[in-house]
């Protein structure tokens, strides 16, 4: 199934793109996706503990099961204002 991956701030630097549609097995959890991305992009590893995840523009836990067409965002800790 296809999902859209969106990267912000340091995650864009580390992975080298802003947005990409990727193919993942049906039923993949955020946790599994993150593990797969870390295997592909070892530079992600140091950010593992601080990554914020969102699915369809809402914060999501690592246990979230993804669905076709989901928009997944990888974000560093928030720091506006």
């Amino acid at each position: 199934m296809k999902i859209v991956l969106r990267l912000f701030s340091v995650f864009r630097d580390v992975m080298g793109f802003r947005e990409k549609t990727i193919d993942i097995p049906p039923g993949t959890t955020l946790e599994a996706l993150l593990r797969e991305l870390m295997a592909q992009y070892p530079r992600l590893k140091p950010h593992e503990a601080s990554v914020l995840l969102a699915v369809n523009r809402d914060f999501a836990s690592i246990k979230t099961r993804l669905e076709e067409g989901d928009e997944v965002a990888l974000m560093p800790p928030i720091g506006g204002g």
Binding site: A73, M75, G81
Partner: protein, 120 residues
């Protein structure tokens, strides 16, 4: 509730806060502070999510503090020292609620609205 590149007019925002049911309007303006030779800060937002979160926060603030009006505008892009970054304004029947709500809103914005900054 907006995320925008362009500057905002404080006067215009405040004019929009006047409400016959309100006896108090409190605002907070965040600006880029001069620190250790800093020249500017690049602000980046997850626009769509940031707008949704700002809207949620506004609704929660209105309900929680019984506000008559509330607004938040946050800028993105490169902002130089001294430039305005964010404005939060709340109007309420009495000043106590307006002050409390304004402080609560800016604290929540910093916690849950996906915006990041990088020093330049």
């Amino acid at each position: 509730m907006t995320i925008q590149k362009r500057d905002f007019s404080v006067e215009r925002v405040m004019a929009g806060m006047i409400d016959p049911k309100a006896g108090a309007v409190v605002s907070f303006i965040g600006t880029v502070r001069d620190e250790r030779g800093l020249r500017a800060i690049d602000y980046e937002a997850y626009d769509e999510m940031a707008r949704e979160k700002l809207d949620e926060l506004r609704q929660r603030a209105v309900k929680r503090f019984k506000l008559t009006r509330a607004v938040v505008i946050h800028r993105e892009g490169r902002l130089k020292v001294g430039e305005k970054v964010v404005i939060v304004a709340c109007s309420a029947p009495h000043r106590k609620e307006a002050f409390k709500a304004c402080e609560w809103l800016i604290a929540e914005v910093k916690k849950v609205v996906p915006i990041w900054k990088r020093e330049v």
